[in-house]
Symmetry: C2
DNA sequence: CGCGGGTAGCTTCCAAGGAAGCTATATTGT
DNA sequence: ACAATATAGCTTCCTTGGAAGCTACCCGCG
């Protein structure tokens, strides 16, 4: 992406934080180099991406404290959310967590190896499998999710309640409208 | 992540779009399973992530039309933005695009193989390298970036100007405040 | 009954980055 | 001047996920 989007990435030695505002600086450079273009959308889209990545980095820190990656956390949370007996089919989990079934197989592999979930054949349909939280898995995700929510509260506390509400409204509206008429950009090159 | 966050991922057969609102549904499930927790932050953080991923998916479609991945697009854009003669050190590019130098090496490898950039030794410092856009590279990124901005305008058009302005303000404020006092969550377990 | 399409999960291969360490070179302190 | 340290870029290995295809199985229809 041109993106001013793309903030942090996670580990490594990526860039220092910019003084004024990285996005604004990038816009200024484009202004100079391509004065024929109106790059104002970057102010929103770029900042949205940077903020999302920043938040992801913060949230990931908590997952790590429980020995979980983002993917594993997602799966455990989906199982926990399902309610007792904390079971779901791999395909359901894939749909819920928005990854392919191939990715889900591997996530479950890791969680099974860690003793956090079990995998057994489904009773009715012999193609099917049932993934279930173990006791250790349930305890872990309960603890981790509690810490996760504490963390989200902490992050959101930087906004006043009205600001948070306004932000939520705008995000929901945009998403909804994209889903609505949202045909992708079809124009040729 | 628990995340309602994590929307689309890109390819594959990930989930269908939810009727009401995936995030709201997830919140309801947590409400039932963990009534002791206040999961309201998900309404903002989750939706932010879902929207960001949705936008990324849309933007990626345009990069693909030019045979570029997100990473390559970023590098070409950073070089183009630098102004004539469109040159930068790999380390600068890594910092600008927020990836490790290892990732940058590989991006440059791909772009060099595609004939879009060249790599030559720096004159003053014999450890250094200079990455430069080729003519083909400059032409491609100029075209691709034009299409990219068209695409961003299209996506942003779903918001009224005042909405976009308000969103930008909120995003900037949040990011700034996170950068400010933003110590990560240090609490143990 | 048994054939054929659809479905579920898994496997294999590939793409892209991060982490850490290597090499060559620059810089700094004494 | 020269040893110690820092820096630039690259390389290697590992992780994660997507793409596509495989196998087993279900189910409906002739």
């Amino acid at each position: 992406m041109e993106h001013p989007e793309h903030p942090d990435r996670r580990g490594g030695h990526p860039a220092p934080v910019d003084p004024v505002d990285h996005v604004a600086q990038i816009q200024a450079e484009w202004q100079r180099e391509r004065p024929d273009l109106d790059v104002s959308p970057q102010a929103v889209i770029g900042r949205l991406h940077r903020l999302a990545d920043r938040l992801t980095a913060e949230l990931t820190l908590v997952y790590q404290r429980y020995g979980l990656g983002e993917g594993e956390f997602d799966v455990l949370a989906a199982l926990r959310r399902a309610g007792a007996p904390y079971e779901r089919a791999p395909g359901e989990l894939a749909a819920h967590t928005m990854v392919t079934t191939g990715a889900m197989t591997k996530r479950i592999d890791r969680l099974e190896r860690a003793g956090l979930v079990t995998r057994r054949p489904a009773e009715d349909d012999r193609r099917g499998r049932v993934v279930a939280l173990t006791d250790a898995g349930r305890r872990l995700i309960d603890e981790a999710f509690t810490a996760h929510m504490r963390n989200e509260h902490r992050l959101l506390a930087h906004l006043a309640p009205e600001e948070a509400a306004a932000l939520q409204t705008l995000l929901t509206a945009w998403q909804t409208r994209l889903d609505g008429t949202g045909q992708p950009d079809r124009r040729a090159g």
